[in-house]
């Protein structure tokens, strides 16, 4: 995935965001643990704010690791993608980007609309419904996006950009108020 296709790393030229973490590559278990530990202690020690950032980071990263359409070494290998964590004045913002099969986009966008048009109580209801109906022999729980909205307390923004007839870039933005 070349930077010229991604567009995610344009910040380096503009220099207007306070970037805390910027990573591009395979989302391996070690990467998750190393970056996760750093994000968790964003204020120099563990606290409630760092914990929320950590939880959002884990869900976003495991989403890439599991579902990215770009993997080196077969389906079981960790997916590739990009993640940036920025510190804006009154909020933190995560932006992730990875390739996804076009076949999955309709379902993802439907889920996103569903999540963003409801309140917290209904989000929990939605989570319970999907968790109760999740497929037992699959690793994923099908509630990752819902949990992102619950943890962050904000809508989850998703944009897609077609690469070809099979794949698109999917960009997920999650904002956490300070």
């Amino acid at each position: 995935m070349g930077e010229e296709k991604s567009g995610m790393f344009d910040f380096s030229m503009r220099g207007e965001w306070n970037v805390i973490v910027c990573y591009k590559g395979p989302f391996t278990r070690d990467i998750l643990n190393t970056l996760g530990s750093a994000i968790r202690k964003i204020n120099g020690r563990r606290d409630a704010r760092g914990e929320k950032l950590f939880r959002v980071f884990i869900e976003l990263s495991q989403n890439i690791s599991r579902y990215s359409a770009e993997k080196e070494g077969g389906r079981e290998s960790p997916g590739m993608g990009s993640l940036i964590l920025m510190d804006d004045a009154d909020h933190y913002r995560f932006v992730t980007e990875n390739l996804v099969s076009n076949k999955k986009i309709t379902k993802i966008m439907e889920r996103c609309r569903e999540i963003n048009s409801t309140d917290k109580d209904h989000l929990r209801e939605l989570k319970r419904k999907h968790l109760a109906n999740a497929v037992p022999d699959r690793e994923g729980s099908d509630i990752g996006l819902i949990q992102l909205a619950i943890t962050s307390g904000n809508p989850v923004e998703i944009k897609t950009r077609a690469v070809d007839s099979n794949k698109s870039f999917i960009t997920i933005t999650v904002r956490l108020d300070k």
Binding site: R29, K52, S65, A132
Partner: protein, 134 residues
Amino acid sequence: MENLVIKGSHGEYDTPYVHFDASTGMCELSGESYLEKTIEFYDRLMKWLDKYITEVQGPLNFTFKLTYFNTSSSKRILYLMLKLKKYRDTGAKVTINWHYNKEDIEMEEGVEDLGMIAKLDINMVQDDNLKYEG
């Protein structure tokens, strides 16, 4: 029947600590669970429970002290609770205590959601030892 002990790793890693005691029925799951490959890990726990329920047929007293679990783990913990519910419905004595940091509303609500799906009473225990620190 043998105990099930999985050392897990606290703080810097993603696998919970497990101690299931076959002689007392006291079972503890603590630390964190945000591993990606949850099926293999939780299968060991489910198989141990199946064996305990079939062979020992004793009471089960579960203590959860998980400070974080990812969405993949929440599905596996739900299946564990559904198994406990099924066992309790046969007349067995099953108790579940979930320790949590009182500042962690998300954890409290997440566990409440699991209990609602499984139709299982979970005793929520505020625990100062699980406060954010370090």
